[in-house]
């Protein structure tokens, strides 16, 4: 996680984000914005992983926030594919391709994958995201420690912000310049 930014910069980002209603993404789901759409926001990810993909040419973004790396069986997979990285990430990519996105123009941000004590579910979730992005040769421009609270992938500008109870405490970076 990067350090804090000047307050003015943070304020301008907040103003930009507030111009359009955010899309709220619950655990676990997949959303895609239209070109120039508003921000995608979600609660804490914890051991889950949020993968945001941003098309730098078309200015379209999408995000998958999944719970586990892969489903335990076919029945669960059929019923709730968005819960699992191995299914949610291809679905996210497919939806972006349907909107005309090109693989070469995509940039990724990856967030989450926390663990408590000896548990490894977060690390396995992160490994799933890394393997998927490597396979599709999508560069990861930013990855971050799990934030304590809401995170915004700003589709219009390709920015990722995190906040905690004391306000915006960090900008993890821009997906695209």
């Amino acid at each position: 996680m990067t350090g804090s930014l000047p307050v003015t910069r943070i304020a301008s980002l907040a103003a930009t984000a507030s111009k359009r209603a955010p899309l709220y993404l619950h655990l676990a789901g997949v959303v895609v914005t239209d070109a120039g759409g508003g921000p995608i926001t979600f609660g804490a990810v914890g051991s889950g992983v949020a993968v945001g993909l941003f098309d730098v040419e078309r200015r379209i973004a999408g995000c998958a926030l999944y719970l586990l790396p892969r489903p335990p069986d076919a029945t669960v997979a059929r019923k709730n594919p968005d819960w699992f990285g191995s299914l949610a990430l291809p679905r996210l990519l497919h939806r972006l391709y349907q909107r005309g996105c090109r693989p070469e123009a995509l940039r990724a941000v990856v967030l989450g994958g926390a663990d408590l004590g000896p548990l490894t579910v977060g690390a396995r979730n992160l490994a799933c995201a890394t393997a998927f992005l490597d396979e599709h040769r999508i560069p990861t421009t930013r990855s971050a420690e799990p934030p304590t609270r809401s995170t915004i992938l700003c589709a219009t500008r390709g920015e990722l912000r995190t906040s905690d109870a004391s306000g915006f405490d960090g900008l993890d970076g821009e997906v695209a310049p």
């Binding site: 609660g43 804490a44 914890g46 889950g48 586990l68 335990p72 004590g117 490894t120 109870a165 004391s166």
Partner: protein
């Protein structure tokens, strides 16, 4: 120096400010400690509270429950959902009415707090089944109500927010920061509130010890405490209702060993608990 809540008068005054749990809800919490009960036991309790009856019917008829035909009576709802599930929804509905819009001090909205309470209830119940020990009858209720102390001390915490944040930045778990700054933590205060609400003693015990499973005294059902403690940690890990404490939490290794927690269990309870949490969001919406 006496800290903010160590003064019994101040504590009692703070407890008085929390909207009380209804009589029907207290009766339901008692019913839910029994292994089996009939519709004849649960229906009169719910029907004694017209507001609760209406709220339950709104919830059960919401899209989240996927009921195809309109449900217009408590008895019909029980036939569709089962007596136990209906009683749990009724208790949850009554509990939701005690929530403020936001738990200031914890930096979490009622919706986030609600998600967390329901997640702990669902995860604890699922963990009890998965780990194949005895499934304590009161596990759902204990999970649902485990954090009621936060309703009392949220405003006190807010008055000391900068100190709390400094403690968190120094690596202190939130419950330790509460104790250091207020003199009591939300588990102590929650137990006092549970006694005021006349909840069953086993529920009160789980609330009191859920952050200190290693110090549970003789006579307290350790399995309930262990399950609620681990479920609380997992609910935070899965991201349900994150508050200012983030993931700086301690999950007792002893508790995980006693209940036999494995990675396989973690994955299964993550899957099993997601739908119940999503369904119970309808309670706040309704």
């Amino acid at each position: 120096m006496t800290l903010a809540l160590q003064d019994p008068t101040a504590l009692a005054a703070s407890i008085d400010r929390v909207r009380p749990l209804s009589t029907a809800a207290v009766s339901l919490s008692g019913l839910l400690t029994k292994k089996d009960f009939t519709i004849d036991a649960v229906e009169p309790v719910i029907r004694s509270d017209p507001g609760l009856t209406a709220a339950i019917l709104r919830t059960v008829n919401s899209a989240a429950f996927g009921v195809r035909r309109s449900v217009s009576t408590v008895r019909h709802a029980a036939m569709l959902l089962g007596n136990k599930r209906l009683a749990e929804i009724a208790l949850g509905t009554a509990f939701s009415e005690t929530l403020p819009i936001e738990l200031v001090g914890y930096g979490v909205t009622a919706a986030g707090f609600w998600d967390h309470c329901n997640a702990v209830a669902a995860i604890a119940e699922s963990l009890a089944r998965e780990t194949q020990g005895p499934e304590p009858e009161e596990i759902y209720t204990a999970g649902l109500l485990h954090d009621i102390g936060k309703l009392v001390i949220a405003t006190h915490l807010n008055e000391h927010l900068q100190e709390v944040l400094a403690g968190l930045r120094a690596g202190l778990p939130l419950v330790d920061a509460e104790r250091a700054i207020l003199g009591l933590d939300h588990s102590d205060v929650g137990a006092a509130l549970a006694e005021r609400w006349a909840l069953p003693p086993r529920i009160t015990d789980a609330i009191r010890w859920h952050h200190r499973p290693e110090t549970v005294p003789d006579g307290v059902d350790r399995r309930v405490v262990d399950l609620v403690h681990v479920a609380d940690g997992l609910a935070h890990l899965f991201g349900y209702g994150a508050d200012i404490g983030g993931l700086a939490r301690v999950v007792s290794e002893g508790a995980t060993l006693r209940i036999g927690l494995s990675e396989r269990h973690v994955e299964r309870v993550a899957i099993e608990s997601l739908e119940p949490v999503q369904r119970m969001r309808a309670v706040l919406v309704a």
